[in-house]
Symmetry: C2
Subunit: 349 residues, 2 copies
Amino acid sequence: MTDYRQMTLKDLAQKLCVSTATISNAFNRPDQLSPALRERILKEARRLGYHGPDAKARSLRTGRSRIIAVILAESLTYSLNDAVASEFLSGVAEVLDAHGHTLLLLPGRGHASQPPGSANIADGFIAYGQMPNSKVIDDLPAQRTLVAVDFDIEGCPTVHIDDTAASYKIAQHALRYLPKRPAIINLRITQKACNGRVTPEHTLLPNTSTISRARLEGFHSALIEQAVDIDQVPLWNIEENTFEVCSPVIAEILDQPPEQRPDLLLCMSDRIALTVLTLAEQRGIRVPEDLRITGFDGIAEGQYRAPRLTTVRQDSVGKGRVAAQMILGRIPLAQQLLETELLLGDTCP
Amino acid sequence: MTDYRQMTLKDLAQKLCVSTATISNAFNRPDQLSPALRERILKEARRLGYHGPDAKARSLRTGRSRIIAVILAESLTYSLNDAVASEFLSGVAEVLDAHGHTLLLLPGRGHASQPPGSANIADGFIAYGQMPNSKVIDDLPAQRTLVAVDFDIEGCPTVHIDDTAASYKIAQHALRYLPKRPAIINLRITQKACNGRVTPEHTLLPNTSTISRARLEGFHSALIEQAVDIDQVPLWNIEENTFEVCSPVIAEILDQPPEQRPDLLLCMSDRIALTVLTLAEQRGIRVPEDLRITGFDGIAEGQYRAPRLTTVRQDSVGKGRVAAQMILGRIPLAQQLLETELLLGDTCP
DNA sequence: AGGCAAAACTTAATCGATTAAGCTAATTAT
DNA sequence: ATAATTAGCTTAATCGATTAAGTTTTGCCT
């Protein structure tokens, strides 16, 4: 019987015998009409079930949706369970929310099962940790702002840290103890997938290509500085930063005979380092006596536990804040480099 | 000079000397035009920098945006760092993505700094863990679907677990060891804020009001069944499920003289239980010998560590999946009750 | 070759708002 | 008292698509 079409501004205008412009002004520009009328309109709107101007129509007309999209590197499922990505997102969300914007989450290219489509509803885009050759920008509407985080796009404002310097810093700290058998566990540094020990056949990605690669450079610099032959330092690669994928590789490392087993593991992420720690504890390997472990990121999980993880903290939340502020035009679009901080925990004091 | 207005479908139509309908069809209904023409259109579109139909206009015209909004209970900042909420979101995201939808994140009412506004762009809403008297629905467009998760709205499809039964189950397990001094740590069960020991002055929320309250009921049932006087069981309340807020309260509990200190702590969440575990480890309190600990949720962090947390797992990811499938109409809108599972870890074997 | 159906396009109305420009009536200035 | 300004409201164009209905072209059948 009654018609279930949603009530529009026009319907409301007709019922109240005023123009649509006036209704619109009642919601958007209070100074354009008498307070009495505005009051009446808002009251009647509520009574008749009109919940304010339709966002779709409004965004079409004004050209702005108050939505900012974050394009993640991985699938949403992965990203939401990754502490670093989550912290980053929470920084973004905090700033967006403070300025009346909302957050749209997009999976990385190659992870979306459908073409973007609805994504270009956003007023601006924050691309997070994409691959260097990433084509994210290619199908983004040209007019809208894009901020790149943790990777570079030519001529695009970016937010990042100096990964090489940071990893150099922690490796330098760890090497002060002159480990007998240092080893490195890295994330996705080989051209083709490799879950395990990296051999010469596995070609490494180019030096500056990804964050992982940059961090490996830092480790290497510190090792070279200590006159360690980096070719003698076992390098392990892991394809995904999750406990499930890390575990078997790390088990393989730890299950070597004690005299071959590393006594220092420089890990490219806290997730890896924490997995090492868990597996070491399960095996009764003493940390740091038998094995020193360092991480990278400074996620909460590594600090709110005993023993605390020795790591280098990057301000992921801050990254998110800065990126969001840039997108909203609160700070100038620029190349922002954030600081990192050594966290001396118990796993490599 | 050149005009920076974004290129529209109409512009493209003019350049190619075809009608706008044809362009639109080239993007949306391939069967409506000859393959040759379609090919030409897509190619020229790419060449001229037309990235496909504008999402704002399209969503206005079609009435659908392919965006689903999740209304969280807390601020986005909190939710994104909470493992349970993140797992839930990742379940939602997984299903949405598989069906070409995207995810818009909205902070809970009272956490947004601005009125919703752009939120009603979504095709459907999933409200997560709201307070029982929550007014979320009130300013939601009436026509759109709403699914409630972990709380109830009259006449609204819901997804939840039987919190009381689940907490009864784990408490029952823990009580088999006939603890001398059991105690309970709960989350937000008092009328007004209370961070610490709950005394008679602190009125409790009504029985069925929140999840926390439901879980407390389960603990109590199990205690009563063991003929324990529940008024003698210390009850502690915590206002926020974070390490920072939990710590001082838990320190207070653990720093009591050993003969007064609880030998069993039934915790309402894994976050609380893990904080207990960390602080106990720091103090050299042996778990489970001196202190047994149980959690609730089954988050990854509690299982991927040594000792593993004894807890009851709820399938948060599954909750998200089911909620998303309902919203998308893949499964009927209904009241869904998911199963829980006892995880026998090392903290209360 | 004529008739008819299907294929390939076009026309034009529409989605639900915003906003510049215009119009009256009321107020202020001279 | 009259002109000038302002307040308060309306008119109508516009944002950029989609899609039902209509038109022309092509292909097929007898």
